[in-house]
Symmetry: D2
Subunit: 158 residues, 4 copies
């Protein structure tokens, strides 16, 4: 991963970067599919189960939820990301999956997948429940499927 | 905005927060619709025009693009957000709209709308162009429409 | 401020930036000295009083402390900075002064002064109390004096 | 480290946290002293040599400098920290040492030591050169010595 990132950084510095490259998306996929230890940054058993069920189809990994209260991440600027960092900093994991508010109260939610250094691999967004009026379990399911599909991991294949 | 955020923070602290509230989403909408000065964090005239065309339908605002090279935001962890902060810190604006990479190279893109203090109001995501293989102009159009619709601003009404 | 930052950014882009400039430090001083509303991100009356006493000597400003519990910032990566952002996002202020942990538990503390957009104007650090074994009030006093002196505001003159 | 952080987070959540603890500072020291691969986030050979000379006295580690241009970190909100993250994301290392601007132009500089996950272990600050008017090599030397001493690593002992 480090080498691929360095190559991309050098391209940006030289002004010869024209969007994501095939090998970069492949590397992200590989990182996710080969994860051995995944932590889900939630205290909610139901939400955890939904995410675990889907992720177990594509990864042969130990998947656990964290045991510290994540709701205080809501007092930060990017709650979803800070939930993920809380998990990263208190656990050893190859991958962290976090779901929380995107930004200010009212801004809806984000599901985000981080690697073991806290780098964002992929994510997906949902509108405020006020706006979508959908069942939360269905929403999370869609979010995880979408986060994976935008980097080319299609669940139907698994 | 500050009062609404404080109320939400106190709810989280007390353990009586259950998702976004109607007045919060309304406040975000109001902030966007009443903006008088909007800066778009891009150096690309084409991308700027697409965003400007759509935003002018809903806001009676001066909309400008920034004149510093934003590509170096690509060397940060959340390029889209850092592009927005670059614009925020070098311009006076009620609203900043930025589009850039979501996370690591290969992670696709994010369009994000920030207020005058740099807080995230809404956003939308696209897969890597490698994955979506769509025209960039169409993509950006979809992104801005989606970012607005997830907080209840539907362009058809305008 | 925005213009000065833009100028500095353009210098960095062009590779002709050689350290801070006199007018930049002056602008920071001016921002601090002309503040009309300052919020201190602490819930501790004693710590607040120390900071208020010193700041009132140099600013003709309303100085208040925040009424939301800031200790949860300790679950983030840069607690001092996140305390400041909590204050910024729930109050209207020209200046925010925050004091909290620098980084991981054990990393000592930081006092940081932010402007109304959340940009860092100055700061100062203290070792862990384990290491310095000093009275906390004396420490905070030293920190605020040092944070100001590093941008050329010397309290003896006031 | 993860366990120590979790313990500290739980203390904060329960309202029974009263400052840094001895074992936490010890853990930071241990992390630094046992590092095997250290990256210095600078392109300047002179600055690198100063840092390397001092660090080699306390660590039995491979110490290298990065080969991507770090000056663009100056277009971010906390340049020193973002330089460190650039090094972290493009190299494999136990420790990253970065030096750069603290905040806005004019805010002086910060030297910061990050662990392999990007967490802040310690740091030190210098005023703007405009204010201190000291030799840059002497300054960096002082900074690295101070960053280490605030977590109880005193160079005289080595």
């Amino acid at each position: 991963m480090e080498e691929i990132i360095k190559r991309a950084y050098l391209e940006s510095l030289d002004g010869r970067r024209f969007g994501d490259k095939k090998e970069e998306v492949e590397k992200i996929r590989e990182k996710i599919l080969s994860a051995k230890k995944i932590v889900v940054a939630t205290n909610n058993q139901k939400k955890f189960n939904i995410i675990k069920d889907i992720i177990s189809k594509i990864c042969n990994a130990t998947i656990t939820m964290i045991d510290i209260d994540t709701r205080f991440a809501d007092l930060t600027r990017v709650p979803a990301l800070n939930k993920g960092l809380m998990a990263l900093d208190t656990e050893t994991a190859d991958l962290v999956i976090a779901r929380g508010r995107l930004g200010v109260p009212g801004s809806g939610s984000m599901l985000v997948i981080l690697d073991g250094k806290g780098r964002i691999l992929t994510a997906s967004l949902s509108p405020s429940s006020i706006v979508h009026r959908e069942n939360i379990e269905d929403r999370i399911k869609k979010e995880i499927i979408e986060a994976l599909s935008r980097i080319g991991i299609n669940l139907e294949k698994y």
